[in-house]
Structures are given as C-alpha cells and as structure tokens.
Subunit: 351 residues, 2 copies
Amino acid sequence: MLPFRVINQKTIEQILDMKSVIEKVEQAYTLKAQQEATLFPLVFHEFEPGKADMDIKSGHLTGANIFGMKLVSWFGGNTEKNLPQLIGTVMVLDSRTGVPKGILSGEHITCMRTGAAGGIGAKYLARPESEHLLVIGSGHQAPFQILATLVSMENVKKVSVYNARSYERAEAFCEKIQEKLLNMIALQFNDQDELRETYSKRCQIEFVPVENIEQTTREADIIITATSARQPLIQKDWVKPGTHITCIGADMEGKQEIDERLFPGARVFVDDVTQSVNVGELETAIKKAIVTPEVIVAEIGEVILGRVAGRQSAVEITIFDSTGIAIQDLLTADLVLAEAEKLGAGTVVEL
Amino acid sequence: MLPFRVINQKTIEQILDMKSVIEKVEQAYTLKAQQEATLFPLVFHEFEPGKADMDIKSGHLTGANIFGMKLVSWFGGNTEKNLPQLIGTVMVLDSRTGVPKGILSGEHITCMRTGAAGGIGAKYLARPESEHLLVIGSGHQAPFQILATLVSMENVKKVSVYNARSYERAEAFCEKIQEKLLNMIALQFNDQDELRETYSKRCQIEFVPVENIEQTTREADIIITATSARQPLIQKDWVKPGTHITCIGADMEGKQEIDERLFPGARVFVDDVTQSVNVGELETAIKKAIVTPEVIVAEIGEVILGRVAGRQSAVEITIFDSTGIAIQDLLTADLVLAEAEKLGAGTVVEL
C-alpha cells in the first residue's frame, strides 16, 4: 500500500502564490533547455467535433525526479448541466521508483501556470520600463495574466482589457478585476503579510476596457492574447516598435490571435518548438509560408538561462508563443504536493 | 467541486470476483467489435532501457459512457527498495461530461482482467471437454490464469505449471496454489456462500509442477503462456491436435513465448489486431514472414458475439493472442466504482 495525496481546487487556491508558480514555470523551461525534461506524445480525442474532447499531456522531468500527466476534458455542453466546461486532473509520480505521489484538481494549476507563462514572457522579453499592458480576452485566464505581469513588471501602471465580442463584458471585467486580484492575493499570501501588502499595492492601478482596439494597440507596451480566437484580433500595422506580445490562446490547429505578418522581423521565442509549429500561434504563419520555423530564435528556457539574448533593442518587436507544456503543470503540481505535505493538507489515501 | 472516489488495492481485492470480471472483459471485447470502443494511442517512455519504463494506455467506451486511462510504471530496481516493480493506477471518467469518477490502484485490476482474458480464450476456443491445463510461468499472473480457466472450463481437472528457469519454483508454486486460490475465492465471494462453495470445490484438483515440458505439452488440452520470455518456450512439434493456446505474456516488441511456426495452419484470434501485430505474440511470426496479419481470423469479440466461428473442429489448433487493452481495465475499474458506491467503500474526495 502506497500513500497517495488527493488535493482539491480549494486547497490549491490556498497553497499556490503567483510568485512561486513563476519560479516553477521558469524551472520547467530551463530544465527543458538543459535536456532534463521530456514531453511525451500528446493523446487527443474528440468525442464530438467542436463540442467535446479530451487530451492527455505527459512528460518527465529528470531534473526534478518526477513524471506524470495532465488529463483535460472539454465539454461545451456542460454549462447547461451546471458543470464546468473544462475539467482537469494532474497526476505526479516519482521518476526514481514509479510510485504515484498524488492527484490534483487541474483547473487552478492550469490557470496559474498559464498566467505565469505570460508573466515570464514579459519579464524576459518586454522593455523593463513598460507601463501599459493590453490584455486581449476578458475570460477566465485574463486575471491570471494580469497578476503574473504585475508581479513580474514593476513599471506597469495601466491595464487595458479588450473583448472582441462585447465592450460591456470588458467593462464589467474591469469593474471587478481589482477586487478579484486582491482576493487572489489575500488567499495566496494569507500567512505572508509583507508579500500580501506588496502585491495588494501593486493592484492599485488603472484598469480600462478597450473601445478602440487599434488605438489601444498603438499605445500598449505589452500585449497578451488569451482568447480562443481563430482570426487575428491584432493587426500588424497597429503594433508600435518595442512592443512585446505573448500569445497564450493558440494551442490547437486553426487557432490564431495575431496577424501572421507580425512574425517576419520580430524576435520570436516559444515554449516548445514542436508544439508552436504544429498547434501554436506560429502554425498559421508557417502554413501560409509567411515564415519558416527558423524564425524561432530559441525556446524561452535558453533566454532564462542566459544562453540566448532575449530582446536586443528598444525598438524591436518580441513575440513569445506559449502553447502550454505538461512539465509546467507537473512542477506546479509537485510544489502543491510538497506544500500540502508540510501543511497536512489534502486527503492521503493508501493505494 | 466534484466528488471523486479513490479505491485502494485491498478494497478492490474484496470487491472483484473472477466471474464478474470475465463478464466485464467479454463486454469490453464485444463493445470493441461493435465499434463502441476506441483505443487511444499508447504513450510509452523508457526511463532506463530494460530497467525502468512507464506507459499510458487510454480509451473510450461509448457503449458504457466512460473513458479513461491506465498508467503503469515498471521499475526493475524497486525490489531492492522494498517496493513493487509494477505499479499502476486506473482513472475512469464519464464520457458524457468529462467528469472524473475516480482513481483506482491498478495492480489487482490488471491481474484480474488479464486472468479473465485467459479464461475467455479457453471458453470460446478450447475444446469444451478439455481436462488438462498447462500454465507456462509460475509468477504473479499464474494464479489468475488458473482461477479464470477453472471458472470458465468445467472439465479441467489437472493443472500443470512450468517454470523454464527453475523446477523448484514451479514445485513451490504448486504446493501453495490451492490455498492461494481458496483465499482469493473466499475474499471474492465473501457474501455469496453458494458461489464461494462452488468455486472452492472447483479448486480441489491436481496441481503438478512440470519436469519435462515437451512431454507435458503433448498431453495438455489448453496452454496458457504468462511469462516475460523473449524466446519460444513451446515448440510446434510438441503441440497435439485440438490444443488451444492463449498467449498472455507478449505485450511489447521482442517478447515471444511460443514457436512462431505454430501460427500457419492454426485458427488465430486476437484482442486487438494492431497491438498483436506490433507488440503481441504475432509480432515475431510476422516480422520473420512466417505469416502475414491475414492469419488473424478475427478479434475475439466477434466470436463472443457469434459473428465469427471460434473453433471449427476437434483437431485444429486455436491461438488467442491477448496483448491487453485499456478498455478491459476501464470496464473492470468502472465495475469496482459502481460496487464501491453501493458499499460506501473507498475514499470520496471533492475535487
């Protein structure tokens, strides 16, 4: 019988703070760059095309002695059933013995590690003096992108939020986001007064719904796209020199958020070359032969390690195509397991 | 928050009886034959070639409204660490909503469903009057093969057990097998006196360690191979007309238990054509061009459904190449979950 820890979403929300998750996701990227991480082939199945699917992403982190998988279900019809559309679980195992360490609710881990990716993109590729963040998308992921960027970029003092379908939703988002961020921070740093104070102050900035996306794009220093769009929402001509763009949304064939003509001439980084080329924001640009995969300067881990320069001038456009990789989830989940063990949180079952 | 049931090995040992598992595995085979089951691509990773690996087998059973996966780790060095070499978990989800139903210890489920496969091979392909079962291999899987065959074949009254490396181990196995079977039956039918009685009586037969494998093969009616062999242990010339052979061991490239020359002229069935051809007992025969995949008459589900005849004469040799498919585990695990819910067994966690 082997002890096995089960951790639900509520516990994870209490345990994970964005600063620690950013560290873990950076570690995931650098382990990958050091060949101490392997992604296994993706398993993807559509139950009903466009309505319900599932995928299993798995991998091994030699550098952290863990392997495991994340299984995510997406069922579009769940809303009517009062169930979440996206449901995920992450299982972590010890790669020295194969023993399962635990299973965790996957939603909050995914939100946090995806937010962290956006923060890391800005941290390593945006101009340090960047003041204005434009977030494309006002859905579930947007608050995590904002929090991670605020944690990573000390000069950001204005956040514009764009919803391509509805100005009203962006407006409603902006009305509530400060309270939401403060609640997240209060939970995340509930026993660390100083950090809670620091990050709470960080949220005392301007949140503005976007009416004119062209105009706001012309003013933004950092753009993060986090939508499920299949058509570009940002045109090349709108983007000013020196802008950094992180593309979060594209993670399967056919998804696209930015004008593919932005890639030629930009300094482009990815989390995983294979995924970016096949299912990331780069997919369309490559399929349309606007660029070849050689446009990719490096995986972001190389920049974090200092092996490859990130931004090289104040006027170039940098792009980080983040598709999401299982090892981000695994390292984040392993952090939760370690903290939960210290706190005696979660349910321990003898398997 | 979603309720999620965690079930450990001990509970599974109490819940699962071989008769019910045979029914579930037959259902898995027939759903597959009716195109109501899909196997997803296998994920396989070697941590250290020949020393440690893991695989993720997953699939969907439309006919049973479930999907899920089994993750199995094999770490050869675990024995020194007082840990099992093989460790597995099975996760079952509802395929109408994507909601995880539970996670279960995988070892006993695997043993039971693999035993059931052997029983089903004999039930549908052996001569009904078969009296003598020869089991090749005296390891962990052997008792399950024996129990399933005794449950399925009422005339079997002698079981010979062969260990290619050590007669002593086969001898020790035979000394203890009756007690072991009675214990399993007592657990499995602990609240069903009549069945417990019936099956306990069924074990009052002869168990004989094999000294001369050629001689015993010539006498056997049913042969089940359950080893990790990479060289044939049964030669073609030894096998008498009318014998049924179920090959359990071969489930990855390079494994082989019976003389590949047994396939031409035999009536051959498999659990899954792709797996048998690529990693099953058939692999070597096909690679050596002794037969083509056309030697496969059908998947066993077709026989269970009565769409394809199994054995057609008392003198032909029948072979069932069982490689093991995820949907066997999923249906068996789902049975455990249903029973556990009735009994209030296992640990329920809100995810």
